[in-house]
C-alpha cells in the first residue's frame, strides 16, 4: 500500500538531489528580492518593518508558483507519468509523495530561511515565530494547491500563464491569512485565530487536493 508512496518519494528526492542547481532557484529568487526591497524602497528600519510581513509572504507565494509548474512536466514528457497512472498502487499516495517532495525542496527551505530574511527586512522580534509557523503550514498549502494547477496544465505546450490564472485565486486566502498572522503578531495582537485558519486550510487541502490532482492528471492524459 505505502510502497508506491515510498518508491515515488525516494525517486523524486534522488532526482531533486541530482538537479541541485534547479532546486536552489526559488531560494535564490527569494533572497534576491528581499535584498532588493531595502534598496528600492527605503533602508529605514521602521518603514521596512511595516511592510516586511507582506513582502515575505508575497515572495514565498511567487517562489512556490514559479517552481510548481515543473511538478509533473518531466514525468509527462518521459512517459513515467503514464507508468504512474497505470501502476496498481494508489495514485492518491503517489501524488501526495510528489507534492511532499516538492514542499521539502521549496517550501521548507523558504520556511527555514525566513528568519534570516526577516532580519534583513528588520522584522520586529515578535513576528519571527508566527512567520516561521505560518510559512511552514502555508507553503505546504501552496504546494498542494499548485499541484492541481500543474496537473491540469501538464499536457499543454505553454501552460505557465494558464497555471498562474488557475492557481492564483486559490492562493489568495493563504496569502491573506499568512501575512495577517505575521502582521497581527508584529502589532501585538494574539495570532491564534489566523493561525488556526492556516491549519484548517492545510488540513482541507491535504485531504482534497491530491484527489483533485489525480482527477486532473487523468483528464490531462486523456486529452
Amino acid at each position: 500500500m505505502g510502497q508506491g508512496f515510498s518508491a515515488i518519494f525516494y525517486r523524486d528526492l534522488l532526482l531533486a538531489f541530482r538537479h541541485r542547481g534547479e532546486i536552489a532557484n526559488p531560494v535564490i529568487f527569494f533572497f534576491i528580492v528581499v535584498t532588493l526591497v531595502p534598496l528600492g524602497l527605503t533602508p529605514e528600519a521602521s518603514r521596512l518593518a511595516q511592510i516586511a510581513p507582506g513582502i515575505l509572504w508575497v515572495m514565498a507565494l511567487l517562489a512556490s508558483l514559479l517552481s510548481v509548474e515543473g511538478l509533473f512536466q518531466s514525468d509527462y514528457r518521459d512517459g513515467t507519468l503514464e507508468q504512474l497512472l497505470i501502476s496498481p498502487q494508489p495514485l492518491y499516495l503517489m501524488v501526495l509523495a510528489k507534492v511532499l517532495v516538492h514542499w521539502l525542496i521549496t517550501g521548507l527551505p523558504l520556511t527555514l530561511l525566513a528568519p534570516l530574511l526577516g532580519m534583513m527586512l528588520s522584522l520586529p522580534k515578535a513576528g519571527y515565530l508566527p512567520l516561521v509557523l505560518s510559512l511552514f503550514m502555508g507553503t505546504a498549502v501552496l504546494s498542494l494547491i499548485g499541484a492541481i494547477g500543474a496537473a491540469l496544465t501538464v499536457a499543454l505546450r505553454k501552460g505557465g500563464l494558464l497555471l498562474s490564472l488557475i492557481v492564483m485565486p486559490l492562493y489568495m486566502p493563504v496569502l491573506i491569512f499568512g501575512a495577517n498572522t505575521v502582521q497581527r503578531a508584529v502589532d501585538g495582537f494574539p495570532v491564534a485565530g489566523p493561525m488556526a485558519i492556516m491549519g484548517a486550510l492545510l488540513a482541507v487541502s491535504l485531504l482534497i487536493s491530491p484527489f483533485a490532482t489525480v482527477g486532473a492528471l487523468r483528464v490531462s492524459m486523456h486529452g
Binding site: 510502497q3 508506491g4 515510498s6 518508491a7 515515488i8 525516494y10 525517486r11 534522488l14 532526482l15 541530482r18 538537479h19 518531466s74 514528457r77 518521459d78 512517459g79 513515467t80 503514464e82 507508468q83 504512474l84 497512472l85 497505470i86 501502476s87 496498481p88 498502487q89 503517489m94 492524459m221 486523456h222
Partner: protein
C-alpha cells in the same frame, strides 16, 4: 486453463479525436499463448490503441474485458496483470538504469528473485548500471526500459514499438523473450513495422481512417 478460453478482449472499440474518427469497431479476443501484432501506416492510431489497452486513455466507445468483465469494473486486478511499455520508455534521464529499475519495481507488484544487476547484465547493459541514462544511446535506453520485462510477472504485455533503436542481436533476444513469455501462457500485444521472426503471430490492421472520413 484451456488455451481456448478468452482471457482478454476488445469489444468494438472506437476512438475519436477532435471530431475525427481515428478507428472504429476494433474487436479482438485473446487467449493465453498468443501474440498480436498491431499494424498500419503512420498515424493510423496504433499508439492510441495500445494506450487505450493500457487504460492510460479511455475509448470513445466500446470496452476492454478481462476474463469477461469490463476493465472499468476490475481495474485494479487488470492493472496487476498488465505490463505496458509506451512510446516514451518511462526512464528518468538523470537516474541510472539500476535506479530506474528500482523505483519501477517497487511501484509494481512482482516477486521476482532476480537482482537489478543480473537483469541489466542479461539485457546487455553490463557496465552501464551506474551511469545516468542521458549518457546512454537510444538503443541502450530502450534496453534499460525493456529490462522490466525480465522481472514483471504480468501475463499481458503491451509493447509500443519495442524494437525501435535496438540492434539485430537485441531484436533476436527480445523475440526470444516474447516467445518464452507466450510459451509460459502469457499474452503479447505489440505494434511494430518490422516483420517478426516469430511464427503464429496474429495481425490486426488499422486502416488510415482519418483521411477517409
Amino acid at each position: 486453463m484451456s488455451p481456448q478460453t478468452v482471457i482478454f478482449s476488445l469489444d468494438s472499440l472506437a476512438f475519436e479525436r477532435d471530431d475525427k474518427l481515428l478507428f472504429a469497431n476494433i474487436n479482438l479476443a485473446m487467449s493465453s499463448g498468443e501474440i498480436v501484432q498491431v499494424e498500419g501506416p503512420n498515424g493510423c492510431g496504433k499508439t492510441t490503441l495500445l494506450r487505450i489497452i493500457s487504460t492510460a486513455l479511455s475509448p470513445t466507445s466500446g470496452e476492454l474485458r478481462w476474463h469477461g468483465q469490463p476493465v472499468t469494473r476490475c481495474r485494479l486486478e487488470y492493472l496487476q496483470n498488465l505490463f505496458f511499455l509506451g512510446h516514451q520508455p518511462g526512464l528518468k534521464q538523470s537516474l541510472s538504469p539500476e535506479e530506474n529499475l528500482h523505483w519501477w519495481r517497487r511501484m509494481n507488484t512482482n516477486d521476482s528473485q532476480l537482482g537489478n544487476r543480473e537483469v541489466l547484465a542479461s539485457i546487455g547493459l553490463c557496465g552501464y548500471e551506474d551511469v545516468p541514462c542521458y549518457t546512454l544511446s537510444a538503443g541502450q535506453q530502450r534496453r534499460a526500459a525493456l529490462a522490466r520485462l525480465l522481472i514483471t510477472k504480468a501475463p499481458l504485455w503491451v509493447l509500443d514499438e519495442p524494437f525501435t533503436a535496438i540492434d539485430k542481436q537485441g531484436v533476436a533476444q527480445l523475440e526470444q523473450l516474447l516467445m518464452g513469455h507466450v510459451a509460459r501462457g502469457g499474452m503479447v500485444v505489440l505494434s511494430t513495422h518490422q516483420d517478426l521472426g516469430i511464427d503464429a503471430v496474429r495481425r490486426i490492421s488499422l486502416p488510415l481512417m482519418a483521411e477517409v472520413s
